[in-house]
Structure formats: structure tokens, C-alpha cells
Amino acid sequence: MKKYALNDITFFQYIFMIHGSQLGFGLLSLPADLAKSAGTDGWISLLFGWLLAILGSLITLQVMKKHPDLTVYDLLPRYFGRVLGAVMNVCLIGYFLLGFFIAFSALIGFFKVELLSNTPNFLMVLLFLLPTYNLARNQVRILGRYAEISFWGFLWLSLVYLYPLKDSHWIHMLPILKEGWGPVLHGIKTTGIAFLGFEISLVLYPFLKHKEKAAAGIIIGNSITLVMYMIVTVVSFLFFSPDDLLSYEFPTLKVLKVMEFRFLERVEIVVLVAYVFLSIRVWTHYLFAATFGISRLLGKQDHKLFVKLVSIGTLLTYIFYKPSFHEMGNMLGMFGHLGWVTAFVFPCFLLAYTSIIRRKEGGR
């Protein structure tokens, strides 16, 4: 029986959901992080990160393909037995919850610094939780619709980045590989984190209507993310001098400071607000993946209750715990490592395990 019929997402929605899960906080800090680790050759690291992400995605798809109608939460108990499967599911849910919390907190911290420094923390959390709950309580197809419309609706943001190009200096990029491959490879660590999010297809895959296109979809999704990252990175590199770049925390935003129209000064504030529409996808997708997992684990039909609980939990956490900006950075880094384990090592392990199991069964 098709478990998730009538809730399927189209090919394009799948692409944009993958892309949407990736394009988060990284968009703002990536150019600076890359400049720190790889200098102006950072864009090459970006390409490597992209290749890695595609590799990870394809491995994930290979695993999911074997049971096209099951999410990873249904898969694990089937392979590892009920107890071990449940434990692994809990770990996975924990990972997604952590992803939600960190992406969410990072953005709140960022907006607090940039826009509303005097607003109390829990008011900020409340503000961001409302749309999050509003979206995440729905079924996958609604999230898919959102991912789709927000992509098309905010495509103009990438056009905005063409404006600073009038002050660009291509000389900054030269010479290519000025310090050899070392820094470039070092930068992959940074870019890898930026591409995290494709592991959402562990949950999304069974909802996809045309599964034969899944591989194409995930590659396109990753590539759109690459293009977006590439635009902001290259524009920042071209606009700021290599030394200047290091002094900014969020060059992606500072680049827009030069824009000024007759009717609108400080365009970057508008961009900042528009950015909420994009980044919300990251944590709602993580939140959905987590709460969907909880509902699977407990055998409930609806995940709405858990979204509510997690939202309330987040609000309560924020009343007692106020992460500093520095802590947030550390947490992001830590989550990056964890993410690579989940998005890369875990599917590899699953793939190996299932092939061995199958061979055994075939042998019998």
C-alpha cells in the first residue's frame, strides 16, 4: 500500500525543498568564512562542497530507492529490529531537532544584532515561532508549495546582487590558487556545512510523485544552492578587498550598503526582511522532519501536536537560556560535524548494511 499517497510533492517542489533546506545561515556568513579559510580561492572550495553534497545525496537516494514508499523512520526498524531501530530513530529525531534549534537560534541572534537589538529574546522567539508553527504543522505538500513559491517569489534577491558588481575588481580573484590547494581543501569544511540540508531527502523521498526523477531533482536542488552561494561569494570577493573582507561578519549583507535609490535608502534592510522568507524553510523543514519522526515513532497520524510541543519547548528554553553570538558560532560548527555524520556517513553505512543484508538473503 502506498502509505503517503495524496500527500505527494511534485518534482519542482522536491527540488525547491532540497534547495530550501540548504540555504540557511550559510548564505550570510559564507563569504567571510571562506575568506578566512581559503582566501579568494574560496569559490573553488564551494565547488568541492557541492560535489560532496551531490555524492552524499546520491548515496542517500540509493538507500531510499530500495523501499520507495518508506521514510527513513519506517526503514530503520525494518532493518535493525524494533528496539535498535527505535533508538536510531530517536538519534535521527534528535539530530533534526538540534538542526531546527540551531538554525532557528542563529537567525534570531542575527536579527537581534542587525535589526532589533533592544527587543527581549523571548519576544523575538515568539515572533519567529508563529510563522514556523503556521507552516510546520501542515503536511509535506504544503511545505512543498511554500518552498516553491518562496523560491520564485524571491528570485529577485539574486538580481539585487548584480548591482554591487559595478564596483567590482576582478583583480581580487587573481592569481587563482595563489597559495596552492591547501587552503582550498581546508575551505571544504566550511562549504560542507553550508550544503547541509540535503539529508532531508531521507524523509522526503517517499512523498515524491515521480521517483525516477529523484536523482535529477536532488542534483538540480544542490546546483541551485551552489549558484546562490556562488553569486554572493563571488560578488563579495569582487567587491571587498581580500583584507577588508575579513573584517566583516556578514559581507553578504554589507555588500548591499552601497545601494541607494531615490525612494529607498538602506536596501539591505528590505533584503534582510526578505531573507526571513527564505531562511524559514531551513528550520521548518528540520522541524517537520523531527516532529514527523516523533509521530511515526509513537504511531500517531498527525504531527501537529508535536510541532506545538516543540514550539512551546523552544520558547521556554529561550526564557532560561540565552546563547551568546559566540556560542552560537560554536554550536553551528558542532552541528556541521554532526551533520556530516548524518548526511554522509549514515547513508553510506546504511547502503553498505543493506547490500550485505541483501547478499546474505540472496545467498540463502
Binding site: 535589526l115 519576544l123 519567529f128 507552516l135 508549495r145 535608502e265 534582510l272 526578505a274 526571513v276
Partner: protein, 516 residues
Amino acid sequence: MGFFRSILRGKPRRHKPSSSPPPVLSPASGQGPISKDLESNIQQLQARLSQSPDLVTRRFPIKSTGERAALIYLDSLSDKVAVNHDVLRPLMHETSADPQIENLVTVGRIKSETGLGQIVKDILQGASALFIANKGAAYIIDTHGWPQRAIEDPQLEASLKGAHQGFVETSSQNIALIRRYIPDRELKMIELEVGARGLTTVSILYLADVAKPEVLQELVDRIKQIDIDALLSSGELEEYIEDNPYSPFPQFSTTERPDSVASQILQGRLAIVVDKSPGVLIGPANFAMFFQSIDDYSIRWQVSSFIRLLRFGAFFLTIFLPSFYIAVISYNFEVIPLKLLLSVGESRQGVPFPPIVEALIMELTLEMLKEAGIRLPAPIGQTVGIVGAIVIGQATVQAGVVSNIMVIVVSLTALSSFIIPNNDMSAAIRLIRFPMMLAAFVYGLLGVGIGMLIVLGHLISLESLGTPYFSPFGPLRFADLKDSIIRLPMWKMVKRPLSSGAVQQRKHGSNRGGNR
């Protein structure tokens, strides 16, 4: 079926499907068939309809057969000409070789009925009951004639080039108006009765080979589940059958124009005609539908596209202009250019209130004016205009209560909310702008952005009869965009919109083919 429904909509229904709603006044509750004795029948009937001075009982012998008979009807609900000329006169005066009652009475609709309850029900809806001695059945003759209004120009939806006939309060007339536009044998009708006391006829009109059967079934099921006393208007029905009862947005489109209804039926949607109500519901609705007017299709497509864009612009302006003003004045003044900021500051000099209070005063005044304009009888109505010009105008500014800019903002909001063709939608967005203003007051531009995000998320998750509400945008359907924020020429729209769920996609040929 219930399982299917719940999946289709992705959430449980709000009214619990009761297997059989307890009938309050069912046709046959506790009353058997009528007897053969004429007098006892009359007595029983009169007992049931006691204290009704308008109940007429006319006893007479039938001329052809010599049998004793009695005609019972409600004077107030019957067409007296029909009763006198087509029923009483032939029965009392004419002799015929064929003594069949059906052949004597010259009325189209006549049926034989035995249950007393059903007879009472029919009499109460304007039919006449003919009892004949020693017969165990009464003839129900359709002689209804109640006060009704002539067909007039639809007042709420004016149109330059559209037809000038609007719906009235009688559903048979309304159905006739629709049938005139679609004389197709595939135009089918499902008739349901809603309300234990009110007995309102609800008819669903649809094109059988175009409308999606699942959507139709869903609608019929929902209407059948309604268990209420009386249904007074189509707006009430809407509230019982809509998908999301907590949404401010209308989930069915209401119109009083037969041409709009016909055009929607032709696109594969369902029309719900409620007796006693001049508003016809159309579902499944989508967001873009509320920004369309029938005139759009009879003017040049460039002009009509421009007007469509204007309306969608007005949608944003109504919701976000006051909140943007508040956000910019109280938080993000760095966004607007210095010169503008200076002139705003100059105009706000001497205004004692913070922007939110200033905006709330003016916006609430506007709402009051609008409401007063609707409810006031026409002779007093003119006063509203004069008073309105004082409270939202130069006088208020000179008094130092609000700033000039605020007056402009309020007037712009009003204007933009008025150009949205559908009243329900315009009311919804006017309501939404208040929470937006509060969000702008607390969080500035970010609050406005998040408010927009919440509205967007809500619109995307809405469904109407199980089909996506935000259709051409929500699940993005490029083909449907031809008739949404813009309108392409009619001959470009070869297919029916996907949002209606039409089974038959092709609407017409490409009328511009060939060598022309």
C-alpha cells in the same frame, strides 16, 4: 469514504459525521397514511395547522363524478389565480368524459400523496391539497405563489458590459437564469434540503462531464451532514461547509451575477443555489478568483491585465501600507530617504500620539464610516459623506490630532480596499491590516515581514473543497497564471484551469489557428 475525505483534506473534519441526523420534523414521524374518511382527514389536517387563519378549506362536489372533495391550501402562499382558474373552476364546473383528476386539473405539477406529514409539508410550501371522499390519497397540486421581487440589475456587483440581470430570492428563477447561459444537457443539478424547520432547497449545479466527481461528492457529503434548524442565507451555508472555519478569507465565492456563475460552471466549478437567497456560492474557490470580475473578459486584454495588476497591488497596499507607515516612522526610519523623512517629520510635528495610536484612530474611523454608509437608510446616508470628509480630512489635521501623511495613508488604504471586486475578500484584508499594524508597532519592518509570511503560509495551507486555495501561485501552475494576475486573450486560454479540478481539460479550440 470518510477516511478518503480526511486524507484528501489532510485533517479531520470539524463536524463529526453523525450516521443519521435526528430528524426534528420528518415527513412521516408518528403519523401514518391518511384515512379514507374525508371529514376526519380535514380535521386532522386542521388540527396540525391550527392557529393559521390563512388556511383555506374549500369543500365542494366534483362535477364530473359527483364525489365530495375538499381543497386545502394556505391563502398567503398560493397563487390565487391558479387555484381559482386551474383547480377549482374545472373541478366544480366542467364535466369530462374522463373523470381522472389529473386530466381535469390544468396544472403542470400534480402528484398523489398519502402521508399526512408530507401533505402538511407541501401545504406549508405553497401547494394545494385536494382530498376526495373515500380515497386514501390526496392530490398535491403545485399552486405556489409567494411574494417575490422582479429581476433587477445586480446592485452589489456592477458591471459595464456584463448582463444586467441579477439573482433573486427564488431558486427556481435563479436556476432558470443560469440555464439560459448553459442550455447543455450535461448541466446537472443535485437538489438537497437543509434545515429541519426551514426546509431550504439547496441545488448544486455543475457540468457532469467537466466537474471533478470527488469534489462534487465531497460537497454533497458536507451539505448532507448539516443538521440545523433553518438556513436563512447562502452565507450561513458557506460557514457550515467551508474547509477552514478559522480563516478570515472567504473559501467560497458569492455572486449575484448569473453570467459569473455560468462562466465558473463552464470552468468546471460547482454552483450552489440556495433558495431564499440571492447570493450563489461557487466552489472550489481559489485566491485569484476573488480578483476577477466578469467585465475583465469583455474589455481589451491589455487593459484587463493592467486592472488585474492594480487589484493585486491594492491587496498588498491595503494590508501593508498602514503597517509600513508605522514601522518606518517608529522603527526603521533609515529606510526612507532623508528628504521624505524630513517632510514626514514636519507633518508629524505637533501630533501628540505615537504613530500606532494615530493610525488606529484613523483606520477605525474609516471602518466606522464604511459600516455607517452600508447600514444607513439612503435619505440619511448623505450625511455620512459630509461627516466623513471632516473626520478624515483637513479639519482633523488642523486640529492637530493626526498628520497629513496619515490622512493620505488612510485614504489610500480605503481606496485600494475598494477596488477589490469581491466584498468578502476586501473585508478580510481590511481586517488583517490591524494585526499587521500591531506587529509593525512591536517589531518594525521585521514584524511586517513576518506578518506577510504568516499570511502567505496561511493562504498556502488553505484548501477549498479539498483543492488548493492559493492555486496558481501556491502549487505553482504556470498554465493557470494566464488568468490570474494578468489576463491573456481568451483564445490563449484553451484549457480549463487546473485549480477547478476539471476532468475535461480542453475548453475550446485555438480560435486563431489557420492562416489568418
